[in-house]
Symmetry: C2
Subunit: 360 residues, 2 copies
DNA sequence: GTGAAAGCGCTAACAT
DNA sequence: ATGTTAGCGCTTTCAC
């Protein structure tokens, strides 16, 4: 039995371990660990140099399972989103992923589908993964969420506020102020609000947006009648928009002035329904400001939520765990585009409507 | 020193461990593990019952670090996408996430930004995480990718083929056939191809799409001149579309017939540029068929890639690791919508263009 | 059918 | 400056 075989790894394809590096460098695994983790003043320059070189030669990278087990924490950060099909969620997730990577962390992304049971299951699984933190990108109320928040788990709320103060606070925009800002604009232009379509009405963010709008209108003496506000709980926001328009039209008020939608997706659905069913000349205002709007929806004004800034803000909130529960409010911005004009001529077929498209 | 304290967990907030369950149930940790992993015929019905109940009471869920360390594999599945801002990528990711969850696995999502260096870094990190598999949603050629494939790592290619045969094979559509199908349609309608705009030209999928189109046209004696094919390497596909149109127009051929774009995003950019700069009456064909097309781009026909089916197909490929390298080709479908008609009247301001939007 | 014990790879406390 | 050692929580022989 040749002693050499104990030196070479049995399976050359298997990743090197700290022990392999230690053996090759003639030091202990502890030294390898210290050097590679950059603990200062704990190794001679020569040792550092040698260990670094050999680690590189062996393409060594510490297995994360060992570290996670030892430290009780993995480098995973969970992101629980209610609907990944929504481009806004994808945009935030993309921004978070970049920011986390800069901190040597890895994003786990889950879709709760706005379902409390699924969300609870995921919260428990992420706890079993000993994630470094859990980011609720639009939480829905659920038993485990309340329990874990109360137990002081590292949970951060984004966009929608949590059930109570969370350990890691909140990152988002001031939705109430955004609603007020839209009202302000419409008052300035003397545009009445024809209707409001509100999807995911359970969300604190959505409620704040509508509340802000109503409050400012009320202050100006233009109180919005409740029957002009349609609430739809459909998971598919675009569908909510289409159905919302049907409801608004059913009340017999001709579309005129402005339509307030609580997300861009709602606005897309609403515009689609308007084009199909009626003449209209409406300013439509959405929320999110999907980057595709400039290309595909020049008739949509929108409250731009600075999704690219979410990642860095969230990463900062996770890193600076000293300040507990500090809320970060990012700046929004009204992006004004055109009105949606569904011309009568288009109905009559006199004038081609490129939005609708000529038959192939 | 009260003996009781050794029974109660020191920190009630800390998750229960298998030892806690074993203690409470009066069995060994081995039994707990066996019962909860459902190893058959290894525990009496009474024991199973008791362990199950106590585990539930304590809200016990096995910490994943321990298991991963022991088994050399985590329950993580990595998804490396080139661009999460692309709704098509987000759609696939969403579908994968659901399918993985059904298999008790967890998705780690990363954005390579089409950068080989970033992709390599991520591949190594995922190996350190001992991921169960790595899914390359649009791989770019890179040294580690080639090395790991050769070493037999569990890598699955989606959409774009890998550098060589991968351990887990390929899932996607037959892009060449899709290109041919588009050509077939255009031939049937006797529509000449005005131009081709091709983003991410390094991608095997993109090349196959264009090759299929050209091959079928060539067979029909309508060979496509190379100067009508614009290749743009911009990471932002919409931008590629806009710039591609500029190049096509610069050659002085009036837009007429059909425009072939290798992704919907390219088509969005192209349409935008066409509306701004010229009269046009074009059939535009894209790839992906973003769900928003029905709402926002009724002038865009597209090859619908069945993204919802990707997740299940991928999950199957991961589970049935027996069949090595088996390729799964999913069915695509041509979705026909209208033409893009930029009317002369609209330029003259006689007829409102709802796509462009009236000023607010 | 069940328990005891080894060991996965890592880090941190303690020795030297 | 470096080595020794313990132990994180789990699964899996092996022995009974």
């Amino acid at each position: 039995m040749p002693a050499v075989s104990s030196i070479l790894p049995l399976n050359p394809a298997a990743p090197a371990s700290a022990a392999d590096v230690a053996l090759a460098a003639g030091v202990s695994v502890a030294t390898v660990s210290r050097v590679l983790n950059g603990i200062p003043g704990k190794a001679s320059a020569a040792t550092v140099e040698r260990v670094r070189r050999i680690a590189a030669d062996l393409a060594y990278r510490p297995g994360r399972a060992g570290g996670a087990l030892r430290q009780g924490r993995s480098r995973l950060v969970a992101v629980l989103a209610p609907n990944l099909a929504n481009p806004a969620m994808a945009a935030i997730a993309a921004s978070i992923e970049v920011a986390l990577r800069a901190q040597q962390q890895v994003m786990v992304l889950c879709d709760t589908h706005e379902d409390p049971a699924i969300q609870d299951e995921m919260l428990l699984e992420m706890r079993a993964q000993r994630v470094h933190a859990t980011i609720m990108l639009g939480a829905v109320a659920s038993p485990q969420l309340a329990r874990l928040c109360a137990a002081g788990e590292r949970i951060l709320f984004v966009n929608r506020a949590g059930p109570q103060a969370a350990a890691l606070g909140f990152v988002g925009i001031d939705n109430r102020a955004a609603g007020r800002a839209v009202a302000e604009l419409l008052l300035t232009r003397d545009m009445p609000v024809w209707g409001v379509i509100c999807a995911s009405p359970g969300s604190s963010a959505v409620r704040a947006r509508v509340a802000g709008l109503r409050a400012r209108l009320h202050e100006a003496g233009r109180t919005l009648p409740p029957d002009r506000i349609i609430e739809r709980a459909d998971a598919d926001h675009a569908l909510a928009g289409q159905l919302g328009i049907a409801r608004l039209l059913a009340e017999g008020v001709a579309p005129r002035g402005a339509l307030f939608c609580t997300s861009d997706l709602v606005a897309y659905g609403a515009a689609r329904a308007l084009r199909e069913t009626t003449l209209a000349d409406l300013a439509i205002v959405g929320f999110d400001d999907n980057p595709l709007n400039d290309l595909l929806a020049p008739w949509l004004s929108s409250v731009r939520i600075p999704y690219a800034e979410f990642g860095p803000a969230i990463a900062r909130a996770l890193a600076g765990s000293d300040a507990v529960g500090s809320d970060v409010l990012l700046d929004f911005r009204l992006v004004l585009r055109g009105r949606l004009a569904v011309p009568s001529a288009s109905k009559a077929g006199l004038c081609p409507d490129p939005q609708r498209g000529e038959p192939l």
